[in-house]
Symmetry: C2
Subunit: 339 residues, 2 copies
């Protein structure tokens, strides 16, 4: 069903002013573009995710139905598939990979959908977590092109507390004995373990563990099982510099960092004209609903729909069927709206 391909973007000027040479954006598509070219959906990836990580939300009968829509999943830079520290040659290899912003990613995605597919309209942009960061960015940068957005468990600008949680994760990895300033010759297993363990406390909610859903729903008898067998391997599968590159993208996320908005978040949010359904999770420790509520108040045509879940940030990850159904129902209703 899904095909994937590479968009060779050439030498790309970044938001930072640097030029990253020979940039590649890997992407996959589900479904077919219709004759009117108006059934495309962009669904960017989340932290540590690749195009495959989004597959849970796509399928016949789901909102993201490949029989109706042409769904494009672009791999975020830094994820090890698109241009990343792990696959970029010197002088931008490893720890020398430059800051790539959410804006840089979305401008590349815009080139992809216009240059490769000739699109002038997108029915929907949606995404989880860092995918939601990219979703807000699409809405702010291309209001005339994006008909609908549905960011879930994300934000238009990383909050200062969210920055701080990420700074903790980063600090653990870069202080590790085997990280060697990013010029490791073997994977820094101890550093990644520390990173994963710091991260673990944030991903679910206090209530998730109080209700022992890690045991009952994830089937993991002990916290050590949870950490060692379920959680850490996903991090150990990543390159450490890639983890840090994506983290830097996340920490810098801010749709108002744009000459048009000059750091004014309210102004940037007000530029989003797409019909929007913003879905934070009630118990998300990184992107609490209070932040989303402020965002929605500044947007032109947005609705707040809080995912009523104790799964914290992971409510948007497709692991919990109830949360996946909540998101799917919201996307179905949104796509059915005439905008």
């Amino acid at each position: 069903m899904a095909e994937h391909a590479i968009f060779e973007a050439g030498d790309v000027p970044l938001q930072s002013g640097l030029v990253l040479p020979a940039v590649r954006v890997v992407y996959c598509t589900h479904g077919r573009l219709n004759a009117a070219r108006d059934n495309a959906i962009v669904y960017p990836t989340h932290y540590m995710g690749t195009h495959d990580s989004n597959a849970w939300a796509i399928g016949p009968g789901q909102a993201l139905d490949p029989e109706k829509y042409f769904i494009i999943i672009p791999d975020m830079l830094g994820n090890g598939v698109s241009s990343s520290p792990s696959n970029t040659p010197a002088p931008f290899d490893g720890p020398r990979f430059p800051l790539v912003t959410v804006r840089d990613n979305v401008l590349l995605q815009h080139r992809l959908v216009t240059e490769i597919f000739g699109l002038t309209t997108l029915a929907l942009v949606t995404g989880h977590s860092m995918g939601a960061l990219q979703t807000f960015q699409w809405g702010a940068l291309f209001p005339d092109m994006v008909q609908r957005i549905a960011p879930f468990c994300g934000a238009a600008r990383v909050s200062r507390h969210n920055w701080l949680f990420l700074e903790g994760c980063k600090s653990a990895l870069i202080a590790a004995g085997d990280f060697a300033g990013g010029d490791y010759t073997a994977p820094p297993v101890a550093g990644i373990r520390a990173f994963a363990r710091v991260y673990a406390g944030w991903a679910w909610s206090q209530t998730f563990f109080r209700q022992q859903l890690d045991r009952e729903r994830l089937g993991l008898p002990s916290m050590e099982d949870f950490l060692n067998w379920a959680w850490e391997p996903a991090f150990q599968a990543c390159d450490a510099n890639n983890l840090l590159a994506m983290l830097a993208t996340w920490q810098a996320a801010d749709i108002s960092a744009d000459p048009r908005f000059d750091g004014d978040l309210a102004k940037a949010l007000a530029a989003i004209s797409a019909r929007a359904v913003v879905m934070p999770c009630r118990s998300d420790q990184y992107f609490p609903p209070e932040d989303s509520e402020i965002e929605v108040a500044h947007m032109q045509n947005a609705e707040l729909r809080v995912i009523p879940s104790v799964w914290g940030h992971m409510a948007g990850g497709g692991l919990n069927p109830e949360d996946a159904m909540f998101i799917n129902a919201a996307l179905l209703a949104l796509l059915a709206e005439t905008v």
Copy 2:
């Protein structure tokens, strides 16, 4: 006003089965014991705290009034003042310091107040955070002796999520290149920096930073100022093995880990007959009010009073006058009750 002294406890059998030789408990007292010997208050220390850290809550006109009460502040083991990795000789020095539980601390404190001061009753036991862990433990171990307890920002048993947050902090320190398995020859500055930065995300709430109270109330213009100048120095002033010893005490906290209760937390809570006011902070990320609510429901004579603050766990640290006044008012009312 305050005097401090050393209780030489001798060789102490620990809950783990090990015997820790020549244990010292440092303590300080405020005020005087009355003739009836019924005006004593025990106020144990919190993580990284010493007897001086509790001074903010003590003073004429405050609930903890040294003109009315004899206030004993015992230094928790591991805090660098009482027996700790940093001051214990081989074979229990540094990383070889054994697990000392909250129960071990409270049994030592019981010996202190009975052997040194001949007490048979305590008007109140109160404490913040790990001081609250010790407060619950006092209530469960010595129901006939303790008239009142007022734990704030703490719990009777560390929650599984709280354990996980601590595990993240610990992982960052032990993975650091300069920690050297605890046998460092100079302070592991990089490891402690990572530890502090991981910890920082947990201590306040998301809302505290959203409202920019770090800038407005702590007077710190940037997150880097907050981390480098306000937060990290307190951690760098600690010995790394001491940080880990206290953390191990915290992670193991469980009043039901006792032959009488056999791991049954409800049973252990039901053994607490003291009049109790349990004060979690609404926005505490380690000890959320939902946990306290469950505890209070099992206790004989307990009331839940939630600190209505966005200062998170730090609501109990005396930094915010409103929170300090809330706690003080609750202690005043509690001490005025005839029990």
